[in-house]
C-alpha cells in the first residue's frame, strides 16, 4: 500500500539551527513526492516537489530511493519557518496521499 509517514508530530529548534523534517514513504515504482506547508492562519500550499530539485525559502529535499525517504532540510531556521509541514506522494491515480504532518516551531 502507498503510505507516507512523518514520525515527528512536533519539531522545536532555535533560530539559526539546522532543520530536518523527516518523511518516509512506501511505494512501488517511481514516486513523485512533495512538501506542502501551512503557516498560521494561511492556506495549505505547495512548498516544493522532488522533480524540480529547487530550493524554496532555503528549504531543499532530496529523494533517497534506497532509504525511501524525502526529508526536508534547511541549514539555518528562521522564526518565519514556523508552520505545519506535510509530506505527500502522488499515487497511481494521480491523487495525493499526505502524511500526518509535523509542526515546526522555531524559537527566538
Amino acid at each position: 500500500a502507498q503510505r507516507v509517514t512523518q514520525p515527528e508530530k512536533l519539531l522545536s529548534v532555535f533560530k539559526g539551527a539546522p532543520v530536518e523534517l523527516k518523511c518516509n514513504y512506501s511505494y512501488s515504482g517511481s514516486p513523485e513526492l512533495f512538501w506542502y506547508v501551512q503557516y498560521s492562519r494561511q492556506r495549505l500550499q505547495l512548498l516544493l516537489r522532488h522533480i524540480s530539485r529547487e530550493s524554496i525559502k532555503g528549504f531543499t529535499a532530496d529523494l533517497n530511493k534506497g532509504e525511501t525517504s524525502f526529508h526536508l532540510k534547511k541549514p539555518f531556521a528562521q522564526e518565519e519557518d514556523s508552520a505545519m509541514y506535510y509530506c505527500a506522494i502522488r499515487d497511481r491515480t494521480g491523487k495525493l496521499i499526505f502524511g500526518q504532518g509535523t509542526t515546526l516551531q522555531v524559537k527566538p
Binding site: 513523485e32 512533495f34 492556506r43 495549505l44 506535510y86 494521480g94 491523487k95 495525493l96
Partner: protein, 114 residues
C-alpha cells in the same frame, strides 16, 4: 491567482443535523477534493471529483456524500452529523494536466458537532 473559497470558516451543528459545506473555485479546474484535517492524522481524502457530476470515494467516505453540479462548485454533505465528524474540512482544486500534483486549498471550515 487561484482562489478557492469555502462557504463558512466556522460552523456549529447539532448531532443528527444535515450539514452542507460549499466550495467554489474560480480557475476552471477539473479536479476538486474534500479532506479532513485532524491533529496526528494529517489530511485524509473524503471524496474527489474529476468532472461535473463525477465523483469518487476517497479514504474515509463513510457518513459523507458530495455533489458537483457545476464545474466550479463542489459540495460536501453530512447526511446526519455526528460528534466524530467534528473536524477541520479543507477543499482543494487542481488542473487535470501535468500540473495536477499542485492542489490549491481553501481556507478551511472548522465544523463542531455537539
Amino acid at each position: 491567482d487561484v482562489k478557492v473559497t469555502q462557504s463558512s470558516r466556522y460552523l456549529v451543528k447539532r448531532t443528527g443535523e444535515k450539514v452542507f459545506l460549499e466550495c467554489v473555485q474560480d480557475m476552471d479546474h477539473e479536479n476538486m477534493f474534500w479532506y479532513r484535517q485532524d491533529p496526528g492524522l494529517g489530511l485524509r481524502l473524503i471524496y474527489f471529483s474529476y468532472d461535473v457530476k463525477m465523483k469518487e470515494k476517497g479514504d474515509i467516505p463513510e457518513g459523507y456524500s458530495v455533489s458537483r453540479e457545476k464545474k466550479e462548485r463542489f459540495s460536501l454533505i453530512l447526511e446526519s452529523a455526528s460528534t466524530n465528524q467534528t473536524s477541520m474540512y479543507l477543499c482543494a482544486s487542481s488542473e487535470i494536466s501535468l500540473r495536477a500534483y499542485e492542489q490549491y486549498f481553501g481556507p478551511g471550515t472548522r465544523l463542531t458537532v455537539t
